[in-house]
Subunit: 196 residues, 4 copies
DNA sequence: TATGAATGAGCGTTCATTCAT
DNA sequence: TATGAATGAACGCTCATTCAT
């Protein structure tokens, strides 16, 4: 891996890395994440295979670099939205992100796998997303008509938990008769709304 | 796969299956679930590779037979306990199960993956566990000093969600300064207790 | 690697192995030993790569199976020849073998590398050749007009030593002005002939 | 490669080269010749990879610089010894050198490969050793009670051949019941002593 | 001279799963 | 049912060497 010291990261290095990610993105756009093949990426990036593994520990590391920023962009979009006035609004705001995360079972798995987990040393983009989710959602929820007896951060954590739950159930034989979105609505109502 | 029909399942069949599970358990006890290899299992069971797949649809099916009952035994233990009087009691009751589920990242993943998920057709032992979790926890929670404004089933679902959340965070570099158990306590307090 | 127990080696196993060796031989005949590529062998044998490595530990192991028998065939040819009446006759008898061994630097290296060496456990075909060389040459030399003060086996060993020496020198910048064959003749004269 | 012309070689050049060789020697002392990696050498020398190849044509060139002088030092030691009075004395004199050459299979291979061989253009230190071996051994043998019917150079060549043979057999599973030293003694007796 | 990212081409691996016997 | 050789399709690796800066 190109030296990650304090010193100048060479321009060439940056360029090669960009070429690889770009090429990978093209593949993904055409055939989905699961279909991504290292061989194809390097071929289409015009780069040697060895170079790929000099930039990314393994295929998974590249995957993170593709999926992390994507999630980030959804968070960006959410951030620009006005604070939701009710659960329904929140659900609607979250749906694009949820849609992406459940677009491919493979994507969901990658996100779960990197939800922070993996290596304690290298905090990848996906783990960072998780923190940012709290930062984005927290203030947002604080502005809405939601529970005030607990901190916005905790409120946000709970939303995350129920998101995962709903998505997991979406992949689950036992509950799929109910739409993920409905499920999510029920969860969040119970979690966010002040008790009567 | 040996017929699971009306007729008596042959003794030999049962014996082979038992041998395989036993051998697998030994491997797991020595090296963990992740390290389990079909090759090693059949070798140690003194059986051919093909035989393995005559008994288990795939490796995952075996995994379920190992992990499912384990989870079940934890649920059994929980069931015998008196209904918890508060969140603390609930957390204590859940800890053994949590301990098992976080003993190996791989186990956590398998359970997550099978939280019903996997095969739409065959509902394996782990998916059943999840239902059972609801069945065990639901009535239990209904008896405690917890929220009454939502159904016990939903309450149980939420407990599940926060369990997963706490465990995921446990694996997450960003939050590990706080103990999983403390985290869980906070979550469940916010989820289960009637708002002041 | 297919079980190497006492029991029946399946016919299929034998057939696959034969297919691989045959395909490899074709490649070698066309492009030389050095040019042999595993990929090409399996492709032309119509076999999966995994199968190749189930039959041969690595490419080198296959190489041994190709070169060993070849050397053997040269020894066979030598064996059918009438015992040489003088050094010249011996040199002539040996030349085909020498020619093969120096036909490709790569071949010489493989033979040297396996001249018994490599692994103490697995005595490959090439190491066996070395013994056989003694067995073929010994009796042969005993019949000629050569030194009688030392055993035929020792005599044969020496011939082997000088063969290697001559071949090594053939690849050597310092001596290549003299033909390998001449060099060999000088060595063997000094070694084999009774001193005046 | 730093100019080896008439002009004074810059101090920096010399220093870098020395650093590289020193670093390489440390690596070898710790892990053996076979384990030497250019990467490790440059890292431990605090120099860039490219710099290595500015000083040494290739890795092999470095290897020669490490092994050649080592062999030379053994030859030096032999040279200071009085001419051997018999085969036993010769064997004893040669043993340290033999010991080094068989210390690692890899070393044996490098020496064999460079016994002059390798590059027709550049006669490296090892090839020179071989010539020197002849120069050291020749006069030495001429002084002993050995065969006089052939030239000292040829006598020396033969000693080399039998050395190689004994060392090769040492690596050979088929003959290792007999000690290399005993083998060598037998060979040299047969080669050097006048026939009764 | 020095730098270090990039090269490259093939090897060996992986290992659950299949299928002909 | 049992067998075990064969499959397959990437992946990851190796690591000396080159070359533009």
């Amino acid at each position: 891996m190109p030296k990650t010291g304090m010193v100048k990261v060479q321009t060439r290095t940056l360029k090669t890395r960009a070429k690889l990610i770009e090429a990978a993105q093209v593949v993904v756009d055409e055939a989905g994440y699961e279909a991504l093949r290292v061989e194809q990426v390097v071929a289409s990036a015009g780069v040697a295979k060895g170079t790929f593994f000099a930039h990314f520990k393994d295929k998974d590391a590249l995957m993170e670099q593709l999926i992390g920023p994507k999630v980030d962009s959804y968070l960006d979009a959410i951030e620009t939205l006005p604070a939701p006035k009710d659960v329904e609004g929140l659900v609607q705001a979250l749906m694009p992100l949820v849609g992406f995360m459940t677009s491919e079972r493979y994507v969901f798995d990658v996100i779960l796998r990197h939800s922070g987990a993996a290596a304690k040393e290298t905090i990848g983009p996906i783990a960072q997303n998780f923190q940012r989710t709290g930062m984005v959602l927290g203030p947002w929820l604080a502005m809405g008509p939601f529970r005030k007896d607990i901190s916005p951060e905790l409120l946000a954590d709970g939303v995350g938990a129920f998101l995962i739950q709903a998505m997991a159930l979406h992949y689950c034989a036992l509950h799929n008769e109910m739409l993920m979105q409905d499920q999510l609505r029920i969860y969040l109502n119970a979690w966010l709304m002040p008790q009567a």
